[in-house]
Symmetry: C2
Subunit: 350 residues, 2 copies
DNA sequence: GGGCGTGGGAGACGGATGGGCAACAAAAAC
DNA sequence: GTTTTTGTTGCCCATCCGTCTCCCACGCCC
């Protein structure tokens, strides 16, 4: 029913007890001794009046808001932020917390980000999640340290805050292994040109996996370009056209799904059928692309949902004193990137 | 600097005045008369101590939280939600409000959505935005009416709440006009099979535009399928293969960008070059697809950002007493869908 | 004595909590 | 078998959280 303005004292009045008692029974205070019948009366009155506690007043008194601040970069431009938010929101909801989300930009000045943190702090959030759009190193506003906080998908340049990131190297290994296991021996890599951790770690995973498979990782073809569709197209053309026919790769590992999309076009132009003539595996599992390409793209998923959920769990544990975040701050927690098998990988032609 | 727990009374102490005075000067209360020098002292003390007001206490006292609740369906699965959130967030921030976002699902029960509204109400948000994933009719939780609220991208089945929706019909006209103006006379429509307003209104816009151009809208080819890539592919094959060669459309208007993506594949398989042999225009302007298809897709953009921003403006105006939402509740506000020209439209072959 | 310029006191707002205070019962003292 | 003593139970009073705001106080000048 509508409650509008029923307060604890209205309930007390209706139940014929004091507000103290109402508070005790509704919060199930352990040390409070209240006769069962009285409890029942109170509950009935509360129910009947449609009483809902005013969280503001509660928070003021208890110094706990039950709100978590989430500062997220570029919510709109990437679906990744959405997955993080979703994971965080569900985990928070499950433990009785709510999220207050502020959007910021990867390009925002430190000052503006500091102001955002300030806004969260004024609202007395119990903890803060700072989520970035992609895995990189960030400068954090210093006031972030005023409440428990954890970094999602990034590592702090300061390095003293708990963080969770995807395991780029192992993700790359997973992707390349899928190709190796399908029987490919000539595998190329379409890499990104940005200087972010993923660029280096995926390359490393690529090389190591080949080496361990007895293929020469150091000699495998790698072409770099911007991590967009156009870049993927260009890099794919270069890699597929270089060298003699016999040296051309029969499989491509792409830095991300957008580049893979470019590779699809390059393959089509060169008359190469996927996966019969060319196998491809991407990275990121961007639904809109990976599932909609034809044939659907086999790719490695970034654990955005899981990172968001994990971060919230840690945060709440810390807030409730079950964990000490400082202990985890030494090194970032890494999370696995699982392979999503679709239809872009097949054995090479005999 | 770090503030931790400096309150108004600390400032008062430091400035040698009463808390009343501090409150007066920091809030620039109009009727309060305070000597300029005193004001200065207070401001200096506040600054020096790094005082930030406790919004909880403020809110408790003033009955205004400065928070807007945003209930959004399926944040993660569509970038649309992201655009709405972004528009809402920026508009809110500009007017000193913050957003509290809760995720819900289009499939969620009325009860669960009601619980979400309840959570927002407990936190005493000043108003609520209810954003849906795509334009349709929704059943709203009844407790939504307890605070000012506006519906984004949907119309309430009850019909008595302010809403803002895209102008589907005019969007379709814009799209089809672009084709007509390029010189096409045989234009087909790949429609959706879902029974949502957009399905009917876009069809209507399609037919009307053709009629007004002297082409026979009623006779124009329309194929319906699921509004995904695969559906688009199938519908496009059907439409491009039916009838004799001379009757085949030279241009396709697609229900959305995903279907357009399917149409691209169909065209490729049939040896039709885009835009030379076949012009295509989509709907939605899903960045990931529209900008990345080759050639890039000309499409109609849904005003998600604008709707989010508009909704927040109305909400805040209502909260601050500048507007009466009830006056606007009679009919939904419709917003324009602008054409985004890229490279998939050209004149038909001579 | 009224007006003006300055500033402070004392409740709210809605709920949480530690310390008490009655009432009654069981145990101990006489 | 009556009193005390010592506990329990069951419940409420008084305060506090941090801020705003109505209303009053004081000094001084006409």
């Amino acid at each position: 029913m509508g409650n509008k303005n029923v307060g604890i004292k209205d309930v007390a009045l209706a139940a014929g007890v004091s507000v103290t008692t109402v508070s005790h029974v509704l919060n199930e205070v352990a040390y409070a001794r209240v006769r069962p019948e009285t409890k029942e009366k109170v509950r009935a009155a509360a129910e009947q009046l449609g009483y809902e506690p005013n969280r503001l007043a509660q928070a003021l008194r208890t110094q706990r808001t039950g709100m978590l601040g989430l500062l997220s970069e570029d919510i709109a431009t990437t679906p990744h932020a959405g997955r993080i938010i979703l994971g965080a929101d569900e985990a928070a909801k499950a433990r009785g917390y709510n999220l207050m989300i502020l959007n910021t930009s990867a390009a925002a000045t430190l000052d503006s980000r500091q102001a955002d943190v300030e806004a969260l702090l004024e609202r007395r959030v119990d903890g803060i999640l700072y989520a970035t759009m992609y895995h990189r190193n960030v400068d954090l506003p210093p006031n972030l340290g005023n409440v428990p906080s954890v970094l999602v998908d990034s590592v702090s340049t300061g390095g003293n805050i708990t963080a969770v990131i995807p395991d780029e190297e192992s993700g790359a290994r997973t992707a390349v292994s899928a190709l190796v296991e399908a029987g490919h021996t000539r595998i190329g890599f379409l890499n990104n040109t940005d200087d972010v951790p993923a660029t280096h770690l995926r390359l490393q995973g690529f090389r190591n996996t080949l080496d361990e498979a007895g293929l020469d990782g150091g000699a495998a073809p790698v072409e770099s370009a911007s991590s967009e569709v156009q870049g993927g197209y260009e890099a794919a053309r270069r890699i597929l056209e270089r060298g003699a026919g016999a040296d051309v790769p029969t499989a491509l590992f792409c830095y991300n799904d957008r580049m893979a999309m470019g590779a699809y076009r390059a393959a089509a132009e060169l008359g190469l059928a996927i996966p019969a003539d060319l196998s491809i595996v991407g990275f990121d599992d961007q639904q809109l692309i990976a599932a909609n390409l034809y044939p659907a793209l086999t790719t490695v998923a970034l654990p955005h949902y899981e990172m968001g959920a994990w971060a919230v769990e840690q945060l709440i544990d810390a807030i409730e004193g079950k964990t000490d975040l400082a202990l985890m701050a030494a090194a970032p927690t890494v999370m696995d990137c699982p392979l999503v098998r679709r239809h872009s990988v097949a054995p090479p032609r005999a």
